[in-house]
């Protein structure tokens, strides 16, 4: 006797589609929020909203880009409503993050230096406005081109260029007052 399969529930279909994309969504959310709990909450809020909209995600041409756009707008909305303070993970979490990647220099001193640099860098990014912060995250960290970001952020290319210019300028000004250890090392190496 042949067995007829029951249709997969909408919740299951949603999960099958979204689960493989959760690591990417979390990473992008973390880079926007700079805080693990806030990033997880941002992703949860986003997915709940998307599920409740009952939009068939299977029909989307590029679900990754579509999700990035939804995440960005969720982040901006949340930030504007000041649902969470833009705080930076420190201490144990930053250490956990650093331990997750191999440190090429290996020594305890190098790890400490690198950890300090990463925290300073994260704080500098968090000090930017939400829009400037987002362009740095999505372009410089996530690697999207400005042309790709134009429809995602729903901002004209010219505005994106000037936004990126101002964001980078502010970052450089903040960080070059007291250069990061890695940056200093590179400059010193080039000078020799």
């Amino acid at each position: 006797m042949a067995l007829l399969k029951f249709p997969v529930s909408r919740a299951k279909r949603f999960e099958l589609l979204i689960r493989p994309l959760l690591p990417q969504l979390y990473r992008q959310a973390y880079r926007l929020c700079g805080h693990r709990q806030n990033a997880e909450d941002l992703v949860q809020d986003l997915l709940t909203r998307l599920y409740e909209q009952r939009r068939p995600l299977e029909d989307l041409d590029n679900i990754k880009t579509w999700l990035l756009k939804a995440l960005y707008h969720q982040f901006i909305d949340t930030y504007r409503k000041q649902k969470f303070d833009r705080q930076v993970d420190g201490g144990a979490v930053a250490e956990e993050a650093l331990l997750a990647i191999p440190c090429p220099l290996g020594s305890a001193e190098a790890v400490t230096e690198r950890q300090f640099d990463q925290q300073r860098l994260m704080q500098a990014i968090q000090s930017l406005s939400a829009e400037h912060h987002a362009i740095v995250v999505l372009h410089d960290m996530e690697g999207y081109t400005l042309t790709e970001l134009e429809p995602v952020l729903a901002v004209p290319l010219g505005t994106l260029k000037s936004r990126l210019h101002r964001a980078r300028q502010q970052l450089r000004e903040t960080l070059l007052k007291e250069p990061l250890t890695d940056t200093l090392r590179v400059i010193q190496e080039r000078a020799q």
């Binding site: 006797m1 007829l4 400059i187």
Partner: protein, 219 residues
């Protein structure tokens, strides 16, 4: 063409992203090779870009995926609340076929059946469709009476999906839960190539009792 440091800084971001024209790139590189301050600026900016790309992030908390998807599944019915009771087999026979041609009826149209379900228990109803030929694309539609729920599907009263029928018997198991002591009709229809056959199953309810199996005869 020569440029000033101020002009160089204007083009710095496009230069870093590699989006300047070949001619402008050449001009900018000539300036960098001659200007120590701008050379250091480029080195520092490139180093900053590399650190941004390599910025680590902590892994999500251990139950992140479960937690984040939990609410999505909150509209499904937790099956553990219910005891699993009898298996009831309802045997249905398709009357249409892609071959032989249109009009051949394989069973008479006296297809109203009756089942009785215990309240607040999951009972598996096997709908058995008999088909004289393979049918690659058929549509099944279920309409549930208001007091009956399909376990795991929340309060959905209608379901429709595509299915392939094999020649012979095809079993579809429905986990049904009766919500209260009421009566109604479960309507199952199956269609293909513009022809549809509908079956009516009268569903009544009773108070829970020990497990029994009732098998309805083939129509």
């Amino acid at each position: 063409m020569t440029i000033t440091c101020s002009q160089f800084k204007t083009y710095l971001d496009e230069y870093l992203d590699g989006t300047t024209s070949p001619l402008l790139t050449q001009t900018l590189e000539q300036h960098v090779s001659a200007c120590e301050a701008c050379r250091q600026l480029v080195v520092a900016a490139k180093s900053l870009q590399q650190q941004l790309r390599e910025m680590p992030y902590p892994p999500p908390s251990q139950n992140f995926e479960t937690r984040v998807l939990k609410k999505i599944h909150s509209d499904t019915v937790p099956l553990r609340r219910y005891a699993i009771a009898a298996v009831i087999v309802v045997s249905l026979m398709t009357w249409f076929a892609l071959s032989p041609p249109v009009g051949e009826r394989l069973v008479a149209n006296h297809d109203v059946m009756r089942i009785e379900l215990s309240v607040e228990q999951i009972q598996h109803i096997d709908l058995v469709f008999h088909s004289p030929v393979d049918i690659e694309q058929a549509t099944i539609r279920l309409e549930l009476p208001r007091h009956i729920e399909l376990a795991g599907q929340g309060d959905k009263q209608f379901l429709q999906w595509e299915i392939a029928l094999r020649k012979g018997s095809n079993r579809l198991t429905l986990p049904l839960i009766a919500r209260d002591m009421s009566e109604g009709q479960l309507i199952a229809s199956i269609g293909s190539s513009g022809k549809t056959k509908t079956f009516h199953v009268k569903v009544s309810t009773k108070l829970p009792q020990s497990s029994t199996t009732s098998v309805l005869p083939v129509v």
